[in-house]
Symmetry: D2
């Protein structure tokens, strides 16, 4: 999933809903939206300069500490879905990303599906908390959308 | 997963962490705890008299509307994990379940892993909101643990 | 995932490996390649004229009856992966798709990862076997790559 | 999932189908049976003396090299399912496990669902092929069911 566009402050990825992401209710199982949030922040971080894959190999582990999701409507198999990701808060040892997930194309037409927040804390490979690299922290802070954006 | 014990107000299920539930961080991927919460409420609902599978066939769909999780520590492959589920709130059209997920056995020993809340709303198969069956609502209200329990 | 190219006989989709697709071995869990095969045949079928989502709504269920996969090398998180899908055999009530999954970009460079075959049988929504629509069967037969392609 | 019984040669685990294991066809998504096979061999290996979790920490990686599954009937949400696992072949660097997955309880009653084979090769943590520990190879060979069992 490559980003289809990047504004200065919001990263957008689009994806098509996969069959195994659905459940017998005929809609996407609620836990699967978290994987899409993960794709969103993967691309946002890549856009800041270095991929999370590289950062992890260099010893920066970002572990999820808090998650909240609100479900407004349901995605269905084969829907084209857009995930907007932005930085809500960046501190020396923790980042909060916010997400807006919407249907772009599919039965029911364009629609807001899920809003979410995910907080990650910076860890060493051994599991101790650590600080974010200063240049990454600065880039994250600079990426916070202006109020009201 | 059958419940290993039922107190009047908390349903307990135990499970062993599966290999595919881990990720390259060497721990359980954060979204997978939601599947364990699902197992917890499946057993809690069964304990009230009728399985969710039956309720769904009879036209009661419980769709997740809100989720929040806090991660305290990580489960690992082959850990024995316990999921405690209880009713936090029951209204005519919505139920909030609360969860405490702990490691029972595994490296690191017994430990609190995740606390979570999941709110579900009652829908018709067509997707309209509906009321819970009155006897189910009464059973859910009666299952709320007393304060401080 | 939209197809990045279509030859007359092979449908190609590309995807970036998601974090939850990995396991603690540091590579993609072997079952997850089946989801990518699913994406491949979704696009192949769409290319024949009508999406599988539509076909299913019209009463054609394609249920997997046989699967075989051979793993040559492992995909890793954030790898760019290509799935080539083609029709190997089309009969009145069953289709066999073949797959070649390769790394396009990522540590280790371009590499063949997995070859697979998936056979699906045509069912009614009630679960009885049925025939494929004649125009679909004809299109599938026409899509079989010439020997040696 | 602890084994509910062990015969000398077949390991049996039982599990209840989870909601997220289903798809919009109303049945278990075909790839998910591989996770159940994984649970089966986890318990079979544990029964030979040392858990796979321990073996992996000691430097023995068992990576899947070949998989084949035949689907006879479908598991549904909340079905009680049994996974029988046995050793089909054990060589110095590879093991083939065979599986029979059946419904024990649920709509449709007891029924054979899936038969499967999974071959794993022994690797070092660095990814080179290696030999199985001799005592493990001996135990695996001894665990092969007699012909016709």
């Amino acid at each position: 999933m490559r980003p289809v566009s990047d504004t200065p402050s919001r990263t957008v990825v689009e994806l098509r809903v996969r069959y195994p992401e659905t459940d017998q209710m005929g809609v996407v199982y609620h836990a699967n939206y978290l994987a899409w949030c993960d794709m969103g922040r993967t691309e946002l971080i890549r856009g800041l300069g270095k991929s999370y894959a590289e950062l992890e190999r260099e010893g920066l582990i970002l572990a999820v500490s808090d998650v909240s999701l609100r479900y407004h409507a349901s995605a269905r198999y084969d829907d084209l879905v857009r995930v907007e990701t932005w930085v809500e808060e960046a501190r020396s040892r923790a980042i909060t990303f916010a997400y807006l997930i919407s249907r772009v194309e599919g039965r029911g037409g364009p629609q807001k599906l899920v809003s979410a927040k995910v907080t990650l804390i910076a860890l060493t490979p051994g599991g101790a908390t650590r600080k974010l690299p200063p240049e990454m922290l600065a880039a994250l802070k600079a990426a916070i959308p202006p109020q009201g954006a």
